[in-house]
Amino acid sequence: MSIRIITPGLSTTVQDLGRPGYYHIGIPLSGAMDMLAAQSANLLVGNPEGAALLEVVFMGPEVEFQRDATVAVTGAELPPKINGEERPTWTSFAVKKGDVLSFAFLKKGARAYVAISGGIDVPVVLGSRSTYTLGALGGFEGRKLAAGDVLPLGEAGNIREGRTVPEALRRSPGSPAELRILTGIYWHRITEASGRQFLADTWKVAPEADRIGYRFRGGKPLDFVTREPPFGAGSDPSNIVDACYPYGSIQVPSGTEPIVLHRDAVSGGGYFMVGAVISADMDLIGQLQPHMPARFEAVTMEQALLARNDRSRLIDRIRQALA
């Protein structure tokens, strides 16, 4: 029982909720970049929230079903079609053996999540089915999907079609996207005026935006506090002795273009960081398209935790709506 990839789309990978615990040897969390959307998709088709599904970027694949199933597409507005006939997003629908799922053009967002009842049953590697392409690990053969791939499906429970996530419970970034951050880590390396400017500027998502990290450009270059380079750091003012990079951390190589690390983060390196995006806003980054405007808004730890609670309550409400 499986699905067959007819055309793969731009960069379609198998993801779940991730692979914590191995960052200390350079293996990142991985997992869906927009967790809320991924969990919603699984709930819609009656899967456990952590079942493996497809993460689709910008352009959809064509997929043939080799058994009956229930399917839901959430996240980006990438309208699904069954045998050419459009289906709603954020809503579960039935497919029959032999049906072909394809997609219309992307209308909004960046990443769509395709959950199939039973989940995608690739092997569990280090506790997760997520794909980490840089390390050729997990997912389907450790890579993005290609034409002709056949992915096994798990056993499905009850068929649940026509269920929908109410619009009020679907979260997506505004324009400009407001990304809340806690300043810190090496924030003291830049001048006070430069810090204020960083937060005041409107940035644009650069074309180099993927699962490893999102790059932004268009703001003013940062001014550094002068220093004698510490031994082992390197001579550029943005260099540090190679250190760990938190998920969500914002590094600014040479002080020009901030990069926010995401689920496939490189685990460490030699660039200073001005802080990190709060956990509640990481989902939003996964839905940003290149050239979209974005701002970094400094918040306190208390505000970050309130936002985190709001996000947990939102998941609870989605669970209740689909119970």
């Binding site: 191995y22 960052y23 200390h24 810190g184 082992g232 002795v241 998920y247 490189v266 685990s267 390196g269």
Partner: protein, 289 residues
């Protein structure tokens, strides 16, 4: 050496043991992270030691950030009283210096290098006042290195040479990063050595290549069947220069499942090391014989 704490978002605490690299800073990072591991604090999900710093990832729904910070500071105080003694292992890594594959790659990206007229080894030898390629190989392989961090990508070790600061090899990174580096390249940037665990982009100088895989996501290689990454922070590495014949023979042995790395359990004492670096290193390396 003043410890500096900072939150990294609401899920991380980033701790800088020292701004500059030293064996003491690395040891402090390793002993605190080991103590955090032993403390089994509910809510801690990832413990990541680095060269002169470390990072703890935690779930703020389980432990409040301020409580997490307090726990860490208490552990720092008690870890500082402990002896800097580490039960670890020394691993011998065969290196084919000046090999044809990294040579082909460094020639391909020569315009991105500080000195397009010489190779990475020649350049690094010169700026470190070493006597040509041979002098470089002697210095590089003559004393052991600490694995002071594992990361960037899966299983990649950062290595810090266990010699006086004055003798440490230093080199800048490429002016612009390469888009390609052969798998298992032995590289160097700043004061750190590394082994590229996978093929890919890179900015470190390239000195040679090892025939010994250090990362196997499919876990087919015998010595990587227990775990897919060879290195852990705190491992000690000794490079052993080899030539083309041994390189080819080792690659064949790896493919045939016959290769076993040479590694021995050792105990490392920072105090004893600092009292007599050369003598202590000789003793450590003697364990490999």
């Amino acid at each position: 050496m003043k410890t500096r704490y900072s939150f990294g978002g609401d899920e991380h605490i980033f701790v800088e043991c020292d701004e500059e690299m030293s064996l003491q800073a690395f040891f402090k990072s390793l002993s605190i992270t080991n103590a955090v591991k032993e403390a089994k604090i509910a809510g801690v999900t990832e413990i990541c030691p680095a060269n002169a710093s470390f990072q703890i990832k935690f779930n703020p729904d389980v432990i409040a950030p301020e409580d997490m910070l307090k726990e860490l500071k208490e552990i720092e105080t008690s870890a500082a009283k402990g002896k800097s003694v580490l039960k670890t292992r020394i691993i011998e890594i065969p290196v084919y210096y000046n090999d044809p594959w990294t040579h082909e790659t460094l020639m391909r990206f020569r315009e991105r290098h500080q000195d397009p007229t010489s190779t990475d080894i020649e350049y690094t030898a010169r700026i470190n006042n070493l006597d040509g390629v041979d002098g470089f190989i002697k210095a590089h392989s003559g004393a052991p290195w600490f694995v002071s961090m594992v990361g960037f990508v899966a299983g990649l070790p950062f290595l810090y040479q266990m010699v006086d600061r004055a003798r440490q090899i230093q080199s800048p990174k490429y002016l612009r990063p390469r888009t390609d580096t052969p798998r298992l390249t032995v590289g160097h940037g700043g004061c750190f050595g590394c082994i590229y665990s996978v093929r890919g982009a890179g900015g470190y100088q390239m000195f040679g290549i090892t025939p010994m895989p250090i990362y196997d996501p499919n876990q087919k290689i015998k010595y990587l069947q227990d775990f897919m990454c060879l290195f852990k922070p705190g491992d000690i590495v000794k490079w052993r220069p080899i030539g083309r014949d041994e390189y080819d023979a080792t690659v064949a042995d790896v493919d045939a499942g016959k290769f076993a790395p040479v590694m021995r359990d050792v105990t490392f004492s920072l105090d004893e090391f600092q009292a007599d670096m050369n003598g202590y290193n000789a003793k450590l390396m003697g364990a490999l014989k």
